[in-house]
C-alpha cells in the first residue's frame, strides 16, 4: 500500500534529448517499467517508473541532468471495460483530484496499471484499498 518512487527528468525540447536520457539509464543497467512524456513547447518533464530508482537518480545526476524523485500511486485494475471508470469514481466520490496520470497494460496477465499523482498519497491509497482496489508496491515493479 506504499507509494512508488517515480523519476522526473527536466528535458529541453531539443533533438536527441530523450534518447540521451534513456541511454544514460540503459548504460546504468536501469530498466524502464512505465513512462510518460507530454507534448510541450520549450521543455518537458519526462516521468519514469524504473527497476531501480536510486540507481537511475544516481546516473542521471552524475550526468548533470536535473531530476527528482517523487512518490506516485500505482493502481492495479482488471483489463476490462468499466474497471478504470470504477476506480476513478472512487477518487471522485472522495474528492481526490489527480495532478496527472498515465497507464500501462499487461495484456498477457489481463491487468492494467494506472500511475496517479495526488496530493495525499497515503490517504488516497487507503480509500482505494478500502474500496477493494489494489495498490502496487515498489517491490512489485522491480
Amino acid at each position: 500500500m506504499t507509494p512508488v518512487k517515480q523519476i522526473s527528468v527536466f528535458v529541453e525540447n531539443k533533438h536527441g534529448k530523450l534518447s540521451s536520457v534513456a541511454r544514460y539509464l540503459a548504460d546504468g543497467g536501469v530498466s524502464i517499467r512505465a513512462m510518460c512524456m507530454a507534448d510541450t513547447t520549450d521543455f518537458g518533464i519526462f516521468r519514469l517508473l524504473v527497476s531501480d530508482y536510486e540507481k537511475a537518480e544516481k546516473v542521471l545526476k552524475a550526468a548533470g541532468i536535473t531530476c527528482s524523485v517523487t512518490e506516485v500511486l500505482v493502481v492495479e485494475i482488471e483489463d476490462t471495460p468499466g474497471a478504470f471508470a470504477d476506480a476513478m469514481a472512487v477518487l471522485a466520490d472522495n474528492h481526490i483530484s489527480l495532478e496527472y496520470a498515465y497507464a500501462f497494460l499487461t495484456p498477457t496477465i489481463g491487468k492494467a496499471y494506472i500511475i496517479i499523482r495526488v496530493e495525499d498519497n497515503i490517504g488516497a491509497a487507503k480509500i482505494l484499498t478500502d474500496n477493494g482496489i489494489k495498490i502496487v508496491s515498489q517491490e512489485e515493479i522491480v
Binding site: E12, F43, I45, I65, T66, C67, R117
Partner: protein, 434 residues
C-alpha cells in the same frame, strides 16, 4: 588599515594641487614623447601652459580604445623599449589586442596602488591569498600578485582553470583570501559544494574580486556560499590594470587612487562634464605613467563619483560600482538595457542558477530579448505548472526592472557556459540578420 596613510587621507585641496601639477607634467610629457599626442594636442591648440586648473582638462581631446588599436603595438609608448620592462595586452576578442608597456617606475606605482587597495579591503601579511585570475598577458593576476607580495601576504599563483585542484590548494594550504572574477568565485563555490569535503575545510574570509561587474545580489550569494567578506576592485589594462580603485571595509564606493589617476564623469554622447553624483561615462587621465600615458581615456564604464570623505578616513574620490558599459548597453526597442540589471533579478530567484545568457534577435521590425536561465530546483519537476509559474514570475520581475517584455527560456542545469575570465552574457543576433 592603510598602506600609505598620508597620501590616502591627504586633504582634498592638497590632493588637487598635486593632481594639477601632475596633469601639467603629463600633458607636457605626452606632447614631447608621443607623436600621436603631439598632433592631437596641436590640433586642439592645447599646451601644458593652457592648463591652469583641473577643469581645464576639458580642452584636451579624449583618447579611445580605437586609438590604442590604430597604434598597435607600441605606437603610444612614450619611452624607448630599452626602458620598458613589461608588456601586457588585452584579450583582443574584438580585434587586435591593446598593448601596454610599463617602466620600472610604473610597476612600482602599480604595486603601491594594489597594496593600498588590498590593505583597504582588509588583507594583511597574515593572509594566504590564492590568485585565480589567469596569469599571462592579462593584467589582473600579476597586478594583484605584486601588490599582495608588497604587503607581505603569502601569494599562491594558482592561476585559473582546474577548479578541483584550486580547491585542493585552498583546503590544504589554508587559503584565507581569494582573488577571482565574481562569476568564477561563484562557480568555485558550486564545485566545492559538489565535492565530498565539508565547507568547513575552507578557511576563506576575504574575497578580492574584479575584472567584471558584480551585482549586490551576486555578492551576497558569494559571501553566503563561502562565508567570506567580498570586496570589489576596478581597473583596466589600458590605465595600468587592476588598482585604479577599490573598496574599503565600509564598502561605500571604490576609492580612486586619485594621486595617480584623475577621474571625470561625462555624458557619453556629448562628452560634457556631469555634476558630482550623476551617472555618466568615466574618463581617466594617468598622472604619473611613463610607459604609456593616456589623456582622458574613455573607459566606456558608466558610474558616478562622490568627493565626500569616507568614514574610513580616506579622502580620495569614490566611484560607485560600474552600472554597465556604454558599449555593453543593449538597445532593445529603444530601451537601454544593461545585462547587470537582468542579473540582479535572476540572482534573487533561488530556483534558477546565477548563470544566464541573453539572446537578442530581430524578428520583422521588432527586437526581441530572450533570457536563458538554468533550472536548479528539482522539486519543481513535480508539475509543469510550477515551472511555468517560475517562467512567468521571472518574466514579470524582469519586465518591472527593464520595462520591456522578454521571453524566458528555462534550460537544463549546466548547459550555459561558465567563464573563468570575463563572462560573455550577450548574444546579439541582430547584426547577422541584416
Amino acid at each position: 588599515m592603510f598602506f600609505q596613510k598620508d597620501i590616502e587621507t591627504m586633504p582634498r585641496k592638497q590632493l588637487e594641487e598635486l593632481q594639477l601639477e601632475r596633469l601639467k607634467w603629463t600633458v607636457d610629457y605626452c606632447y614631447k614623447n608621443v607623436p600621436f599626442y603631439t598632433k592631437k594636442l596641436d590640433e586642439a591648440g592645447v599646451t601644458a601652459d593652457k592648463i591652469k586648473s583641473l577643469e581645464d582638462i576639458r580642452y584636451i581631446p579624449p583618447t579611445t580604445k580605437a586609438d590604442l588599436r590604430d597604434n598597435y603595438p607600441f605606437g603610444l609608448f612614450a619611452k624607448p623599449m630599452k626602458e620598458i620592462v613589461r608588456i601586457h595586452a588585452s584579450s583582443g576578442t574584438t580585434g587586435k589586442p591593446t598593448v601596454v608597456g610599463y617602466t620600472k617606475h610604473d610597476l612600482d606605482i602599480w604595486s603601491d596602488c594594489m597594496a593600498r587597495i588590498c590593505t583597504a579591503a582588509g588583507a594583511t601579511s597574515d593572509d594566504i591569498v590564492q590568485i585565480s585570475f589567469g596569469y599571462g598577458m592579462f593584467t589582473g593576476a600579476l597586478g594583484l600578485h605584486y601588490g599582495l607580495e608588497k604587503i607581505g601576504a603569502t601569494v599562491i599563483p594558482n592561476s585559473s582553470g582546474n577548479t578541483e585542484k584550486a580547491l585542493m590548494y585552498m583546503r590544504d594550504f589554508g587559503t584565507t583570501a581569494l582573488v577571482a572574477t565574481p562569476s568564477y568565485a561563484l562557480y568555485m563555490c558550486e564545485t566545492a559544494k559538489s565535492l565530498e569535503y565539508p565547507m568547513s575545510d575552507y578557511k576563506l574570509k576575504l574575497g578580492l574580486f574584479g575584472s567584471e561587474g558584480c551585482t549586490p545580489e551576486m555578492r551576497t550569494q558569494i559571501e553566503n556560499g563561502w562565508g567570506l567578506f567580498a570586496t570589489d576592485n576596478y581597473g583596466m589594462s589600458e590605465l595600468m590594470g587592476p588598482g585604479v580603485s577599490g573598496e574599503c571595509r565600509e564598502r561605500n564606493g571604490l576609492h580612486f587612487n586619485e594621486d595617480f589617476f584623475l577621474p571625470e564623469i561625462v555624458d557619453s554622447e556629448t562628452l560634457e562634464a556631469k555634476p558630482e553624483g550623476e551617472y555618466g561615462e568615466l574618463l581617466v587621465t594617468t598622472l604619473t605613467k611613463e610607459g604609456i600615458p593616456l589623456l582622458r581615456y574613455r573607459t566606456r564604464d558608466i558610474t558616478k563619483l562622490t568627493y565626500e570623505p569616507c568614514k574610513c578616513g580616506r579622502t580620495h574620490a569614490r566611484m560607485e560600482k560600474v552600472q554597465g558599459r556604454s558599449d555593453d548597453m543593449l538597445k532593445i526597442r529603444g530601451v537601454n538595457i544593461f545585462p547587470s540589471q537582468i542579473e540582479s533579478v535572476l540572482i534573487s530567484i533561488d530556483q534558477v542558477s546565477p548563470h544566464y545568457q541573453l539572446v537578442v534577435r530581430r524578428e520583422g521590425f521588432a527586437d526581441t530579448l530572450e533570457v536563458q536561465v538554468e533550472l536548479v530546483d528539482s522539486s519543481l519537476l513535480d508539475s509543469y505548472g510550477k515551472i511555468q509559474q517560475l517562467q512567468k514570475d521571472i518574466g514579470r520581475k524582469i519586465q518591472t526592472v527593464l520595462g520591456i517584455q522578454c521571453k524566458i527560456s528555462i534550460v537544463e542545469h549546466g548547459t550555459i557556459e561558465r567563464f573563468v575570465g570575463k563572462a560573455k552574457r550577450v548574444v546579439d543576433l541582430r547584426k547577422e540578420n541584416k
